[in-house]
């Protein structure tokens, strides 16, 4: 049986996302390949991973508007559907994931849950107790309203997920 990680990667591809599997050691290079400049971002709050200086982590509206990429952490991710859970935070994860044409989401393998059942185990307390907000985002924004299917409407036209494999499974 496929692991959650390979299922996640397959589902991302099915939903027209790019995906890079990497390690803590190789994260900087993988991220640099995924990001197009100018880029804005939200700091990752991860002791092993950080964003390069080229990614503006405290952007102004003008920078947000001009950015080609927005790099964010996620709350968790759902393997079955290739979904990333985007939290509404004071650090602006939601607008940074939404305004630039390319959303680069950084996902730790440990953040994967297998399916919708498990996603709702996460969402229950988040929404009901913490009263937080989460966008379950799957693939680039899309519309068929102008005739043929077009990707990239009000939201990003490209989604690139950088998955950092857990060290335990690597060894």
């Amino acid at each position: 049986m496929a692991t959650s990680l390979t299922r996640f990667e397959d589902a991302l591809v099915d939903h027209d996302c790019d995906v890079t599997r990497t390690s803590v050691a190789e994260f900087d290079g993988a991220l640099a390949d995924a990001v197009r400049e100018p880029a804005v971002g939200v700091a990752l709050d991860d002791q092993d991973l950080s964003l390069p200086a080229a990614v503006e982590t405290d952007p102004t509206p003008a920078q947000l508007q001009a950015a080609a990429s927005g790099v964010t952490p996620v709350a968790f991710a759902v393997a079955d559907h290739g979904t990333v859970a985007i939290p509404s935070t004071a650090t602006a994860v939601e607008p940074v994931s939404l305004y630039p044409d390319r959303h680069v989401a950084v996902v730790r393998e440990e953040q994967l849950v297998p399916d919708t059942d498990a996603a709702f185990d996460e969402l229950g307390p988040t929404l009901a107790r913490e009263r937080d907000s989460v966008i379950m985002a799957t693939g680039p924004s899309a519309t068929g309203d102008m005739g043929a299917l077009v990707q990239g409407v009000h939201g990003p036209s490209e989604v690139h997920v950088v998955v950092v494999e857990s060290e335990v499974t690597q060894s």
Binding site: S88, A142, T143
Partner: protein, 747 residues
């Protein structure tokens, strides 16, 4: 306007749509319909929809208490809830919010509820600028048209038409042509509107009572932007959108996109518990970092409790506008379970051909629209299009919350019938028709609702009655009085009915018969399609059954389809009484006409006591279903005619497919070495009386032509339903019932 003029006006409107919007609507709804089938294949749709249905039933039952809970939750979070009695009340509240916030512009994501309220017009008249940001809604706003579909408001427009519209309206530097161009243009234009806007408005697909969370199901990302960019967010939703808990969202998150567009999941399932923690975006201060802007939430509450940025203002407007009355109405209540996915429209053959500009009322479109329009705008709005539901039941399989949409249409039709003013022709039909209906009933409905009486009279006097019926004066009279289209061949009633044939045969009942069977002499098999009845009797006998064809009255299908519920109930009771001695004797009831088989197993539940219904439903079978069962139980298949590889094109009846009965016909024919190909069309378009009615004749033929195209190269066509046979007879030439292929006496 007289009824005859009404019918002509309706026919002209439908003719116009068939030549303009039909092609694009058909392409788009047909695509979503086939995508839905693909998405639910191999997925336990039925289990999920049972779960979704149960949650909705519970939520509507507890609605007053849940509204109080939503109020408490939203207020705890720092927002405001307003419960609006009606459209005027809701619009006034939103206008007050605009004034309080000193706002000038409002950007909206898609919301059918605000269409119901005519909110845009109201705010426009009050001097505010309102921009629709969903691309479909934007197209409709620019074109100044009404939505043609609940999910895709502009899906009646092709890329070319939208390009012409935008090029004329916006006069861009370079003409727009492709879907890509148009999307890019709309994104840029609306992006600017969103960045400038003072207030953002969304609808809500669901509202969670325990947390004050609103769920939005979208693909474009505009709802996210409208909710997060301005500092004020107003969400407008009908009161029926409330669910008790976050966990209750789960089945809906799985089912709604599959039902709507055939996507496994939407691009964005947004779960917002406003006021949200994200900083607001003030593009008027382009160089101040967003976490430091006045609306910023960085130093807001980091404590993670009932949070939200202090600068954000959130209003949830819950709209009654007739919904509490629907909740008290035993027949309309189900409408409130609707999650507005549009599957009933996509699965509807008539809708696929005319779209919501005919099949819709003031706001809502498709099969469920009858319930919504009757509930929120009144019977008159529902009456504009209610007749376009033929009761084919294909939407019943599609609906993600198991709403009996055809029944809602029947009940509303019944109420409309009772509201009718007496007509100039009442004297002609009232004395002749033994129904239970009031005097004002439309003669067209009365004629088709009493077709059993006509059949009896016609048969008794055949063939003279058929000759008279076909004469020019007679056709003119039925056209003028009852709107029977002169282009349609009338059915020829047979003097030698099936019952007479069966009574005159001297086949003794075999004493060693495996089963005793009552072949129900349905109206059409008895008086018109007599040969399929004879074939059915011979097939059953060849498989060892003792068959009788007793005198059992008409089923009530005809009056039910005209919304004559009391008459249908009276007929159902008479059928039940006539079948009782046979059921007491342990006989199985076999039905040739699938619309009657479906009636016995489905709609009789609404017309009879539980005990009577269970008895009839539990012991009645569609003919090929029964043959399949006999063969499975060891009957000798070689007693039936064989196909020897002959190709057969089969159109199963719509109601038969909804009851999952078509597979038996396919299996038996394949077993007897016929090479069977089945059509994938939802309905033939004839649907009982529908295709005879002058105002709908052209639509009926348009739907039928699609089926005929599928069968253009067919060597032999068979169909289960009388209507399907009549439609295919008219379009392709003689059509038979599948049981006739198996008849051992066939040549």
């Amino acid at each position: 306007m007289s009824r005859s003029d009404d019918r002509q006006a309706k026919a002209a409107h439908i003719r116009h749509l068939l030549s303009t919007e039909s092609e694009t609507i058909h392409e788009n709804t047909g695509h979503m319909n086939s995508e839905r089938y693909r998405a639910i294949e191999g997925f336990d749709y039925d289990a999920l929809r049972d779960e979704a249905r149960a949650i909705k039933e519970d939520a509507i039952a507890r609605l007053p208490e849940l509204i109080e809970q939503v109020k408490a939750s939203v207020e705890e979070n720092g927002g405001t809830v307003y419960v609006a009695d009606d459209a005027a009340d809701a619009n006034r509240y939103v206008e007050d919010v605009m004034a309080d916030r000193d706002a000038e512009t409002l950007v909206k994501s898609k919301s059918m509820t605000t269409e119901e309220l005519d909110l845009n017009d109201h705010l426009g008249e009050a001097g505010y600028d309102v921009f629709e940001t969903d691309l479909g809604e934007f197209v409709i706003q620019v074109a100044e048209e009404a939505p043609s579909h609940i999910v895709g408001p502009g899906l009646h427009k092709s890329s070319e038409e939208i390009a012409d519209l935008f090029n004329a309206h916006f006069d861009p530097d370079e003409d727009l042509a492709t879907a890509q161009d148009l999307t890019r243009f709309a994104r840029d234009y609306l992006g600017e509107r969103i960045r400038e806007a003072d207030v953002g408005m969304t609808g809500a697909n669901f509202v969670v009572a325990e947390s004050g969370t609103i769920a939005l199901v979208t693909n474009e990302g505009n709802a996210r932007k409208c909710a997060v960019t301005p500092d004020t967010h107003v969400a407008v939703a009908g009161v029926e959108k409330i669910l008790p808990t976050v966990a209750d969202l789960q089945p809906f998150s799985q089912i709604i996109a599959k039902a709507a567009t055939g996507q496994d999941v939407p691009q964005y399932f947004s779960l917002l518990t406003p006021p949200v923690d994200s900083p607001t975006l003030d593009f008027d201060e382009p160089d101040v970092p967003i976490t430091e802007q006045s609306g910023g939430g960085a130093e807001g509450d980091g404590d993670g409790d009932s949070g939200g940025s202090d600068a954000r203002d959130f209003h949830l407007v819950l709209v009654d506008n007739g919904r509490f009355a629907m909740r008290e109405d035993d027949e309309l209540r189900e409408t409130l379970y609707c999650i507005r996915c549009g599957a009933c429209a996509n699965s509807c053959s008539n809708f696929q051909h005319v779209g919501g500009h005919a099949f819709g009322g003031e706001t809502y479109t498709g099969g469920i629209a009858t319930g919504w329009e009757a509930g929120v705008h009144g019977l008159d709005s529902a009456g504009e299009f209610n007749d376009l539901c033929t009761g084919c039941t294909r939407c019943v399989d599609a609906c993600p919350v198991n709403i009996d949409i055809p029944w809602i249409n029947t009940v509303v039709r019944d109420r409309l019938n009772r509201d009718e003013a007496p007509s100039e022709f009442d004297f002609l039909v009232e004395g002749l028709t033994p129904d239970e209906e009031p005097g004002g009933l439309d003669p067209q409905k009365r004629l088709f609702g009493n077709v059993d009486t006509l059949a009896k009279l016609g048969s008794a006097t055949a063939p003279v009655s058929n000759w008279i019926a076909r004469t020019r004066p007679a056709r003119l009279l039925v056209e003028r009085v009852a709107g029977v289209d002169p282009r349609r061949d009338l059915p020829a009633f047979r003097r030698d009915t099936l019952r007479k044939w069966a009574a005159d045969r001297d086949t003794a009942t075999p004493t060693d018969a495996g089963r005793e069977v009552v072949l129900y002499p349905d109206l059409y098999t008895n008086y018109v399609q007599v040969e399929r009845g004879k074939a059915a009797v011979r097939v059953l006998e060849a498989l060892g059954c003792a068959v009788r064809v007793p005198d059992i009255p008409a089923s009530g299908r005809a009056p039910l389809s005209q919304g004559m519920v009391s008459t249908a109930r009276e007929r159902a009771e008479a059928v039940s009484e006539a079948l009782t001695p046979h059921l007491d004797a342990g006989r199985d009831v076999v039905v040739v006409e699938p619309s009657d088989a479906a009636l016995f197993r489905r709609e009789y539940e609404r017309l009879l006591s539980d005990e009577e219904f269970d008895r009839i439903a539990g012991n009645s079978y569609e003919i090929l279903e029964y043959v399949y069962g006999l063969l499975e139980n060891g009957a000798d298949a070689d007693a039936l005619a064989a196909g020897e590889g002959q190709s057969v094109s089969y159109h199963s009846h719509c109601q038969q497919r909804t009851m999952d009965l078509a597979v038996y016909t396919e299996a038996v024919l394949s077993d007897r070495e016929f090479d069977v190909r089945t059509s994938d069309q939802e309905c033939c378009g004839m649907a009982g009386s529908f295709g005879y009615k002058s105002q709908y004749y052209e639509l009926s033929v348009s739907v039928g032509a699609e089926l005929a195209d599928q069968f253009a190269d067919a060597e032999r066509v068979v169909a289960s339903g009388t209507s399907c046979m009549e439609q295919l007879d008219d379009l392709l030439g003689p059509t038979r019932h599948p049981v006739e292929l198996l008849d051992p006496a066939a040549e």
